[in-house]
Symmetry: C2
Subunit: 352 residues, 2 copies
């Protein structure tokens, strides 16, 4: 049986002004009516092969997450509430310790879009046998462009249909290298989706990242339990190094496999990425909320409880909330981070 | 003695989303810290030659106007509160009837900017003798461009230094005609500022616009008084034709004079006009409120209690309020009216 582990951390600064520390990207309905978390939880909800999920999130988002899960008809087996963010390795360590040792844990970020979840499920089900045998299975997204913002996974020999050994993990590449990766047909994007037996991960952590495991064990020993909510002890948890599971374990382990998956995946890493995902009108505009456009083309225009009126502009991102507005060319939407930093430096409340 | 009559009507749709029916252009601090009404009232405040002003405004704005006048240290002699808007002729008729017959009334719109009010005062003082003698004195703005959005006043022979007969009123011209007007050096913009004896205006109304005068007389006969507030009787006032004082009287009267004035005047008829007025930073941006810009040029960016972050755009107007945002090229800011109409058609609350 597969136990989804949904990681709902991360601030999502690049989706400012919609995403805020108190309402980060997983909790936003970016692509439609449901939040990214709800969409993630729905992917294995009701599948015979899967059980209720474990959610790992920051303490401050507990209420909103509970509300959203209830709305989506999802009953979490466990909600692990982190007192402080410590990246993915400690989050996964705590989840692995809290689960049954034999559980097949399916770790999924909660802020990615997957257009064809059936394709992901297919790949996951195909990989279960390998994971049960002790393999750490990653899922490699078939790349559609020479993206320089992702790590790549190079496939090796086949283990069984749909599952290969990982030959090598490749760092985020420069443009030329990314094009070379794409040309090989054997390199996939690392989407941060992993399948493994809980006890396998614990042993790997013990070997490759003992400080993470020890902090997680101590934090769980002192944890407070409240229904499905589990609160690791703060001081112990805070001692865990802030490190990703990729660096801490996955890129160091030996028995690592990759299952290619072609599922219409996007990490929605920028407004431009969201624009690409959304359906457009005849003028190439993607809109959400009360929006009135005149002579506008190729733009993403979103009003979150705010009316947006635009005329005579092209290829812009316009996102408005009750306390902040962003206007930028779509192709420069990655630079939003810089604006947010400038606002933070000024002590602006619009980034709280 | 000069009795200022400040007309505070008009919706100012072109300044949406800042201006709204409940908070129209005169009540906004567009150019600095003080509202257009406060700046207008200040122009003759404390001048020996002037008395406390008469304000004519819509009933619904009474409280905000009182607050703003008090803040500016202005005590209105009278606040005439219109139950329904009826353009300038009925407003001026009521003011003329409510004033002393011998008063020199100086009618001023409350939503224009005047950079050098001393120049206006000089022109007004120079024109007092002519007004006292029974002339209806208009003030002609020395044009700085062949503007097609204003009516023009063509000067005739001089009456006395600084005061001329009006040779003719010219309708809003086409571009070519506007250029010809500018070239004559004898055509001025009609800014809607007038000086006349109250009883002279009443006689002119009786002759040229008797329906206006009768409605105004009946509305005043049934008026309710409350301190300085005077509320004309609604049914009578509503019977007044909705007509401007220009069409009703000024362009038809015989004894009409014009005093040229070069005072840095602007009717702030569009966001572009406001941009031109405001001081700009090195990149040519005019900003108000919490605004963070990166690689932005030639833009007007205003946040009214809302943070605005923009990058990589040029020559735009970005105006954000808590419930609405406008984005448009500066040179197309006159088209805002169309967006507002589209929103009104949809029943949007953002134009209420």
């Amino acid at each position: 049986l597969i136990r989804p582990v949904i990681l709902s951390g991360g601030a999502g600064t690049r989706m400012w002004p919609l995403s805020r520390p108190g309402r980060p990207k997983p909790l936003l309905a970016l692509t439609g009516e449901r939040s990214m978390l709800q969409l993630t939880a729905a992917r294995f909800q009701g599948q015979q092969e899967a059980t209720d999920p474990i959610i790992v999130a920051h303490e401050s988002h507990a209420e909103e997450i509970s509300r959203q899960l209830e709305e989506a008809g999802v009953t979490p087996a466990l909600m692990i509430l982190e007192p402080v963010p410590r990246n993915t390795a400690p989050a996964i360590a705590v989840a692995a310790l809290a689960a049954n040792p034999e559980d097949l844990l399916l770790v999924m970020p909660s802020d990615h879009a997957i257009e064809r979840p059936d394709k992901l499920r297919e790949a996951v089900f195909a990989a279960c046998r390998s994971a049960a045998e002790g393999w750490l299975v990653t899922f490699g997204i078939v790349p559609t462009a020479p993206h320089t913002g992702y790590g790549y996974i190079r496939v090796g020999t086949q283990l069984r249909p749909g599952v290969h050994r990982v030959e090598r993990f490749e760092e985020k590449p420069a443009r030329e290298m990314a094009e070379a990766f794409l040309a090989t047909g054997r390199c996939y994007w690392n989407a941060g989706i992993f399948l493994f037996r809980a006890e396998v991960m614990i042993e790997l952590l013990r070997h490759h990242a003992p400080a993470v495991l020890e902090a997680a064990e101590a934090a769980l020993a002192g944890a407070a339990s409240d229904g499905p909510r589990l609160r690791p002890e703060e001081q112990a948890f805070a001692r865990a190094p802030s490190i990703s599971i990729d660096y801490a374990v996955i890129e160091r382990a030996r028995q690592v496999a990759v299952a290619p998956v072609e599922a219409g995946w996007s990490d929605i890493g920028s407004w431009e990425a969201l624009y690409q995902l959304k359906s457009k009108d005849e003028a190439g505009n993607a809109v959400a909320g009360e929006v009135v456009l005149h002579d506008v083309r190729g733009s993403l225009v979103m009003g979150d409880g705010v009316t947006v009126a635009a005329l005579g502009v092209e290829d812009l991102v316009i996102v408005a909330t009750a306390d902040a507005v962003l206007v930028a060319p779509r192709h420069r939407s990655e630079e939003v981070k810089g604006l947010v930093e400038a606002l933070r430096t000024r002590g602006s409340k619009a980034v709280d």
